[in-house]
């Protein structure tokens, strides 16, 4: 059988960055991929089928935005080669090129190149609303004739024009049109030539809506030429509202100030806004746990399910509101168009450290999760800058660390949300500062560490500002939160199970309780702690004891730290399991904190969790590279073990040393 005839047809979406490809992809496929008002949101090809309602039996591919078909970096070459012939999905049968009509002359360059490459092409004009605001319109039919391919106007957000587009895709898939393959025009001179053609074409298809149709045609023509040649008017001017906002947000001095304010507000709001919601979630989960515990009766599996699984998962879920708020604020920034400005504002400072303005968005998304952030670094063309960005991303405090900080801050500053919020943003900012120092140091020794040929550049389109579409932001936040739970949930459950087994077995009773009163709570606590101290977990943990002791910690924290290599949140669930969240309080995190306060190091009788050790743990979590997925993705993105291994050694080593200094330094100062 011939594989070629069996193969499903492939429709590929191609277009310049931020031209609406992913929005269109979602409208055609019903998927919910992230759309962002930032050039460079999509970084990987993705594939889907068309929605059933279109009855179109073909595959649809979304692609990363490209400016032209000429690659300027090896990675761009891969992107462009994959467009011609993707290793998994093959050659496109029809290419749908999105063209932002308010950027008509710039975006048509790529469309022209695609058509010339001999693809069956459909040009989709998006953002016609933006062009209309400037009082212009494109004559689609005329353009279609001039380009020699189908042209259709769509608003992929509302679905306007989608049906006609489907019709066009169907006819294009069916016809066996022989495409004229023009010579690939790929030199700078060729681009200049294409631009000249486009300018001619623009004059013919761009219609001024202000033009009075009853006017004398000569006057109208003269007026039109005035508008096009005239300075500061008509089609040649960017969106006027955007210019006004930029005069503040990109102001030479205010710009960087506002930038700092926005960033700090983002971090502090995580605590301030989330706290009331967190208490609600906490109480709800706690009552659920008690409900399950009572419902199952008093036996070993009720302990496993209620304490082990629901308790472990619950203590982490308590911090979900914080994570949701982080995603929400990030979403607002993404949708507004500010991210590209942020990149521009800090390009200069970052470039002094060997980074790039384009490092900003990957670093920022590092606060959500390092994995997509490391992938987002692909938008940085310069290899040295890209590797350096990847190198420092793990120092951004990701959302998986939020539950840990949340718990430790609640332990350190009980009830003081305002203070906790400030400390939390200090933690974030310190993480960023450390990352910048690391970048600076590596950059100084770049010849030995990251030695690549260099042309550092920064050119980026600044998209128009838009009032963030709240429904869109909510949708993105929701799917991010679901993803967070899907990623963390199973790991927490599995580790809770393992830990429960390890802490409950062999379970020899070693204390003689016959002469003690039976229902004294201190007795059950004694039995409990004896059982844990004789469990398998203790056996394993005691190997770690010599490493943990200098930090003022014991094997119980050590075991929890090992568990964090699966996911950092597991630290919290594992503490909840080891220190047995009790049912006496009506609040799970409070109950865990109380147990932490009572915990003593066995042979010295010292308190295990003190101000010094809790602060030390925060420092540890700020620095240590403890995430297997991060290591894996770094290896993949940098094509070798060199960078991830360096990261593990440097970051985890530094974490241990800095924790040691923090704990013992604080003790030396009399803060215990």
């Amino acid at each position: 059988m011939n594989i070629e005839t069996e193969r499903k047809k492939l429709v590929t979406l191609v277009g310049p960055p931020n031209s609406g490809k992913t929005t269109l992809f979602n409208a055609l496929s019903g998927k919910k991929h992230k759309t962002v008002n930032y050039p460079g949101a999509t970084i990987e090809y993705s594939i889907s089928s068309f929605l059933d309602q279109f009855s179109l039996d073909a595959r649809l591919m979304d692609s990363p935005g490209i400016i032209s078909l000429i690659p300027v970096s090896p990675d761009e070459k891969v992107t462009i080669d994959n467009l011609y012939n993707h290793p998994d999905f093959g050659k496109p049968d029809v290419v749908v090129v999105t063209v932002d009509s308010s950027q008509f002359s710039r975006h048509l360059l790529l469309a022209r190149q695609i058509i010339d490459s001999g693809f069956k092409t459909i040009v989709v004009l998006t953002m016609n609303d933006l062009l209309k605001e400037k009082n212009f319109e494109i004559d689609g039919r005329h353009l279609s004739v001039m380009l020699g391919c189908d042209v259709i106007k769509c608003d992929p957000r509302s679905g306007d024009g989608i049906d006609s587009l489907i019709g066009l895709i169907k006819t294009n898939l069916e016809i066996n049109k022989e495409q004229i393959h023009r010579k690939n025009r790929h030199s700078e001179d060729d681009i200049l030539c294409i631009y000249r053609e486009i300018e001619e074409l623009e004059k013919k298809v761009l219609r001024d809506l202000n033009e009075n149709h009853h006017e004398d045609p000569h006057i109208a023509k003269a007026n039109k030429e005035l508008v096009i040649a005239g300075r500061g008017s008509g089609i040649k001017m960017p969106d006027s509202l955007t210019l006004k906002i930029d005069s503040v947000l990109l102001h030479k001095f205010w710009g960087i100030f506002i930038f700092m304010v926005i960033m700090s507000l983002m971090f502090t709001s995580i605590f301030w806004v989330a706290s009331p919601v967190m208490d609600l979630v906490d109480t709800a989960i706690h009552s659920f746990e008690s409900f399950v515990n009572n419902g199952l009766g008093d036996n070993w599996y009720s302990d496993l399910i209620a304490k082990g699984i629901i308790g472990g998962l619950g203590v982490v879920l308590v911090f979900l509101p914080q994570i949701v708020i982080l995603f929400f604020v990030l979403g607002l920034l993404e949708d507004s168009g500010y991210l590209a400005r942020g990149a521009m504002i800090i390009d200069k400072p970052l470039s002094m450290l060997g980074l790039n303005g384009r490092s900003f968005v990957p670093m920022l998304s590092g606060f959500a999760c390092a994995i997509p952030a490391i992938m987002a670094a692909r938008t940085i063309q310069n290899k040295r800058e890209r590797y350096l960005t990847i190198f420092i991303i793990p120092l951004m405090s990701c959302s998986a660390r939020l539950p840990v900080y949340g718990l430790l801050l609640a332990f350190l500053f009980p009830g003081k949300y305002f203070l906790s919020g400030i400390i939390l943003s200090l933690i974030y900012i310190t993480g960023v500062l450390i990352s910048l120092i690391v970048a600076g140091i590596i950059n100084r020794y770049k010849k030995t560490l990251l030695n690549f040929e260099d042309n550092s550049s920064f050119i980026m389109e600044l998209p128009v500002y838009r009032v963030p579409k709240i429904s869109n932001v909510f949708k993105n936040t929701y799917s991010n939160a679901v993803q967070y739970i899907q990623k963390a949930g199973p790991t927490i459950i599995i580790f809770s199970l393992i830990l429960w087994l390890l802490t409950n077995f062999p379970g020899k009773p070693t204390v003689d309780t016959s002469n003690l009163p039976k229902d004294d709570p201190s007795v059950s606590r004694l039995i409990e702690s004896e059982r844990i101290n004789n469990s398998y977990a203790a056996e394993i943990g005691k190997i770690m004891e010599p490493v943990m002791r200098p930090l003022g910690l014991d094997w119980r924290v050590g075991v929890s730290l090992i568990a964090t290599f699966a996911a950092r949140e597991v630290f919290v669930s594992s503490l909840a399991l080891i220190f047995k969240v009790t049912e006496s309080d009506d609040n799970m995190s409070q109950s865990l904190i109380n147990e932490m306060k009572n915990a003593k190091i066995k042979d010295t009788g010292q308190n295990l969790f003190t101000t010094a050790t809790a602060a030390g743990l925060i420092v540890f979590f700020m620095l240590a590279l403890q995430c297997i997925s991060t290591i894996a993705i770094t290896k993949k993105e940098t094509g070798g073990w060199r960078i991830p291994v360096l990261q593990i050694i440097i970051y985890t080593g530094a974490a241990y040393i800095m924790t040691f200094i923090t704990v013992n330094g604080l003790r030396f100062l009399g803060i215990n």
């Binding site: 710039r106 300075r231 005069s247």
Partner: protein, 78 residues
């Protein structure tokens, strides 16, 4: 010879030539900086770098270093 990097905020100029010996020249042309086009420097970031430039109805942020390959003349000079 004057380049975009030499313009003040708010100044308008017309592109005369692109210096193709500059490593960023290809990118710059792809973004639409072609001879004959009018552009205006809108904002400068702190340290005067990068610039935001209005070109072909779009706003483009560009580092001074990259802007050096865009040679311009002032409209009234011609």
């Amino acid at each position: 010879m004057m380049t975009v990097a030499d313009l003040h905020s708010g100044q308008t100029a017309i592109i005369k030539n692109i210096d193709f010996s500059h490593p960023s020249s290809c990118r710059v042309v792809e973004y639409g900086f072609t001879p004959g086009q009018e552009l205006q420097v809108i904002n400068k970031s702190i340290f005067n770098d990068p610039l935001s430039v209005s070109l072909r109805g779009a706003l483009i942020a560009i580092r001074k270093q990259d802007a050096r390959c865009i040679e311009v003349f002032l409209p009234n000079e011609h």
